[in-house]
């Protein structure tokens, strides 16, 4: 404690070169792997003694140690706290990753998901003891149906890609049911998320790419040209991955339906249109909703997600099991393919869906209400268009606005500067922003896809825009060398991904004992 009033202002000597004895840099700590912090015999839990020494393991007992390290609780807390400090999150800074919808994650949602009445429910409890949980799933399902204008929703898919799988399986099931198994082609625009062709191909469909117009939309004429009785479905993202609304979507749906195909919509970008456009009014047959995007369940460093799929009347009978149904004794889960679920495509995962995500999403929805959701979508679109207007000063947008909730730039503005899209992104990191999505979508050269979301204030957007504009000017002024080295201030800089893939090291292995190492 500085109780003596000693002066704390240091001399400005410039003597430090940033090197330290420990490798730590002030608040940024170097941290070994947990396995390298092993104290044999240490333990972070205190467990009771077994109530009996009897064993019924049929001679299948583990021989020898597992190889896990021993640490006490304070050591574990410090280890993972330090690791967390090497991450950026939405809590830390603007995270304008296009196509990912990195919006604010309200903590009330976390609190509610942890209520024992949800978090401590066993999935196989008698239905009479889980009526509130089933009611919550039913309430969320009702919101999703009303917000999309669709008659049915499958709640169980575990993430967006899982939802795609579900929706496309429902389409396959419908085709089989109607004896249309010769419909084997799925049309996918060039700008689609990688999961779309991966999903269609996984289900045995042949993927045909359909071209885009100069305005970044599906080429309606080319699409109609391609329609025939071999087409099973189109998979279309709307708003699309260029951040643009597909204005011909109703014509696309009409032509597709007339030709006997189904319309799968990738709902990853639903955040732009919630409360303003209902996909059901656009002629869509199936659409997954990423609860971890539009409805703000945390991304958690890569999941868990949740990907309910809204379905048209034509596809509803083929929804996966289980589903919540109303019965004489209240709500229950239909867990078998029989009766009302006789045509179900079957089960997609264990138990009944991502309950923890359902609670968070419903809390988010109730907080916003019908008016707040509409305002949130509008603000998301406003923020993106504001960045389009401001960044347009120096950056090049391949398509004219207005955009939807995300704005796409290409790398034309970097032509002949020696600076790449990747360099720009890495330089942004030093400025305290998470980079935008890079090199996606594939339809423009060197894409920079910026999705600010509705969670950013005007002041933050201005700070971001000022920074990007200054970097763009710096690039154009010929300072390519600076960019090639960026970032300079992160815990690690420009990691060698090629080496990682060439000779993969996917786990820690104990160092060889010294006697062997010496040989």
């Amino acid at each position: 404690m500085n109780t003596q009033g000693r002066p704390t202002r240091g001399a400005e000597t410039g003597a430090s070169n940033g090197e330290t004895i420990t490798g730590n840099r002030g608040l940024m700590m170097e941290e070994p792997l947990i396995f390298e912090a092993d104290t044999p015999g240490a333990c972070g839990v205190d467990l009771a003694e077994p109530v009996t020494a009897d064993r019924r393991l049929g001679g299948l007992e583990r021989e020898g140690p597992v190889g896990l390290p021993g640490l006490t609780e304070p050591q574990v807390v410090r280890h993972y706290t330090r690791l967390s400090q090497q991450n950026l999150g939405i809590d830390t800074t603007m995270y304008p990753l296009g196509s990912c919808t990195m919006k604010h994650n309200p903590r009330i949602n976390e609190k509610l998901a942890r209520l024992p009445g949800f978090a401590s429910l066993h999935p196989m409890q008698p239905m009479s003891t889980v009526q509130g949980a089933l009611a919550l799933i039913d309430a969320l399902a009702d919101w999703l149906k009303r917000l999309t204008g669709m008659p049915a929703v499958a709640m169980t898919p575990g993430a967006g890609a899982h939802g795609e799988l579900c929706g496309m399986m429902a389409i396959r099931a419908a085709l089989e049911h109607h004896g249309q198994t010769d419909r084997t082609h799925v049309l996918v625009p060039e700008s689609a998320h990688g999961t779309n062709p991966a999903t269609a191909a996984a289900l045995g469909f042949t993927v045909d790419r359909i071209p885009a117009t100069d305005e970044g939309r599906v080429d309606l004429a080319a699409f109609k040209e391609r329609l025939d009785d071999g087409v099973a479905a189109i998979m279309l993202t709307n708003p699309n991955t260029c951040g643009l609304f597909e204005g011909d979507i109703v014509d696309i749906a009409d032509a597709l339906h007339a030709a006997g195909g189904y319309f799968y919509c990738d709902g990853a970008n639903f955040n732009a249109i919630v409360g303003r456009v209902r996909p059901g009014d656009l002629g869509i047959d199936a659409m997954h909703i990423n609860l971890h995007k539009t409805f703000s369940t945390p991304h958690g460093g890569g999941g868990p997600g949740s990907g309910p799929v809204v379905l048209s009347d034509a596809l509803a009978p083929f929804a996966p099991i289980p589903s919540v149904v109303h019965g004489p004794e209240g709500l229950r889960l239909a867990e078998q393919t029989e009766g009302e679920t006789a045509h179900s495509l079957g089960r997609l995962k264990g138990f009944h869906g991502q309950m923890g995500m359902f609670v968070r999403a419903l809390a988010y929805i109730l907080s916003h209400g019908a008016d707040g959701l509409r305002q949130a979508a509008g603000d998301a679109v406003l923020n993106a268009n504001y960045l389009l207007a401001r960044l347009g000063e120096e950056l090049t947008a391949p398509f004219p606005g207005p955009c939807m909730h995300e704005v796409l730039f290409d790398d034309h503005f970097l032509k002949d500067t020696g600076v790449t899209t990747l360099d720009m992104a890495k330089a942004l990191v030093d400025e305290g922003f998470h980079p935008m999505t890079m090199y996606f979508p594939l339809v423009v050269h060197g894409a920079l896809l910026v999705e600010p979301t509705e969670s950013e204030s005007k002041a933050t957007l201005d700070a971001f825009a000022d920074t990007v504009l200054a970097l763009a000017r710096r690039a154009k002024a010929g300072d390519a060398e600076y960019f090639a080295g960026a970032p300079y201030l992160t815990p690690r800089r420009r990691l060698d991904e090629t080496a990682a893939a060439r000779k993969p090291i996917l786990r820690w292995t104990p160092p060889a004992p010294e006697s062997q190492a010496a040989e």
Binding site: L33, V45, G58, G117, L147, T199, G301, A500, P504
Partner: protein, 449 residues
């Protein structure tokens, strides 16, 4: 609205910068007929935090949490104690609110956690490598079958009758839509099935769960040998991962792929999700693995660091040629798993398994002493099957009325098998107290009278 930072003045000024009169005008590409001009009718408007908490808490209050009552439910989801530290750490915003670590410079925290997770999973399963997690055990199992089909270039999977029906059904769905065939053994309540006889030169994989859904333990060694002789991959499924603190790991018995549910470590029951799928394999098959992988590398200054790697298997690069369409994994649940297992460590993990097993052994012995109850298992870990003298489901319902969650009636998992309706799956973890045990025994004795 408390989550929306723009003020009306901000909005006006931004619209002026853009050069449009209103937010609505930014939606001009939407066909007129589809554009909504006002909030959707019949839905409530925004609400304060207190009101939202009230509404959702009221739903929670209508449930009976397994944490509040004697609970003996298992069948793929287990009530365990999760140290408070785990939930505190996973709620740090840098972990909770970050995206998939595609930008390694700003994601070394998540990436190092994944590297530790992969190592832990490989260690406890006895395998060479593990991925960065899957949605859950059932989807991990289904992805394992797809991987075996790719590796062997064969198209027929054999499923044990001890495989959890949800896992079986998840595989079945993929078999139907992706196009491969299944040979499903009958439900193996007695633990006596002969699987080696089912495999041949056309078989891609043999899927065996141990402990089985009925609690039986299987020595995978002889099956691994039979598989090797026919070029078949052995997929070991583990639905209760704590069992590996006490049981021989599948890797040591010759499994080629391990697909497991990791919920028991670090994660709550959550009414069945989110949980965390574990996936481990042999090094020689690593390029056929599904899901994300984190690898070690160096940065430009020569310092050790971590990146997502081998992404040329994945959908965002390979598109229609990807090994799987999976994009998200179960990152935060994997983090919880990693932290809990770090707290447990070598001694704690093994002790936890011993405490679980001992609870189940004593409970099985006590139940076997009740009239009208017999235990089917000779070997088990923390879950076993009992036969009652009447259908189990009504008994379970009656015990729930008395505030005891007695177990999972087999009829809920195998409704098509009336001959199994008298069977009940009973699990006992470290969370079961002596009082819980007494309560179950007393309630069961009275109900069966």
């Amino acid at each position: 609205m408390r989550y929306l930072p723009l003020t009306d003045a901000d909005r006006r000024s931004m619209l002026a910068t853009i050069g449009v009169p209103s937010i609505d005008s930014l939606y001009r590409d939407v066909p007129d007929a589809a554009r909504l001009d006002a909030p959707i009718d019949g839905l409530p408007l925004h609400a304060g935090e207190m009101e939202v908490e009230r509404a959702i808490s009221a739903m929670a209050a209508r449930n009976v949490p397994a944490s509040d009552v004697p609970c003996f439910l298992g069948a793929g989801a287990y009530r365990h104690h999760v140290p408070a530290t785990v939930d505190y750490l996973i709620q740090r915003g840098e972990f909770l609110t970050s995206y998939t670590p595609y930008q390694p410079e700003v994601s070394q925290g998540t990436l190092q956690v994944l590297f530790e997770f992969q190592t832990q999973v490989a260690l406890i399963t006895g395998m060479d490598v593990a991925n960065a997690s899957m949605y859950d055990g059932a989807t991990a199992c289904a992805e394992a079958v797809l991987m075996a089909n790719r590796v062997t270039r064969r198209n027929r999977a054999v499923l044990s009758g001890g495989l959890h029906p949800h896992y079986r059904d998840t595989v079945r769905t993929l078999a139907r839509f992706i196009g491969f065939s299944l040979d499903e053994a009958e439900a193996d309540a007695a633990g006596t099935e002969d699987l080696a006889a089912r495999i041949d030169g056309e078989t891609s994989c043999l899927v065996v769960q141990t402990p089985s859904v009925f609690g039986h333990l299987t020595d995978l060694g002889p099956l691994a040998e039979a598989c090797r002789a026919k070029g078949v991959l052995l997929i070991a499924v583990v639905a209760e991962i704590v069992s590996l603190g006490l049981l021989k790991p599948p890797g040591a018995m010759g499994a080629d792929i391990v697909a497991a549910e990791g919920q028991s470590i670090g994660n709550g029951l959550n009414f069945g999700g989110p949980h965390v799928g574990l996936f481990a394999a042999r090094t020689k098959h690593v390029r056929q693995m599904p899901g994300r992988l984190c690898g070690e590398t160096v940065d430009v200054d020569g310092r050790r660091g971590f990146v997502l790697t081998l992404s040329t298997r994945e959908q965002h690069i390979r598109r229609e040629k990807a090994t799987s369409n999976i994009c998200t994994n179960s990152g935060l649940c994997a983090l919880a798993f990693t932290i809990h297992l770090s707290l447990l460590g070598e001694d704690g993990f093994r002790q936890l398994a011993k405490v679980n097993h001992a609870r189940a052994v004593r409970l099985a012995d006590r139940l076997a002493g009740l009239p009208g109850v017999s235990v089917l298992n000779t070997g088990f870990f923390n879950e076993f099957t009992v036969r009652l003298d009447r259908p189990a489901a009504p008994v379970v319902d009656a015990l729930a009325e008395r505030g005891v969650l007695a177990g999972v009636p087999v009829s809920r998992l195998y409704p098509e098998r009336p001959d199994l309706a008298d069977l009940l799956l009973v699990a006992a973890t470290e969370t079961v107290t002596d009082d819980d045990e007494d309560a179950l025994l007393a309630a069961l004795r009275e109900t069966l009278r």
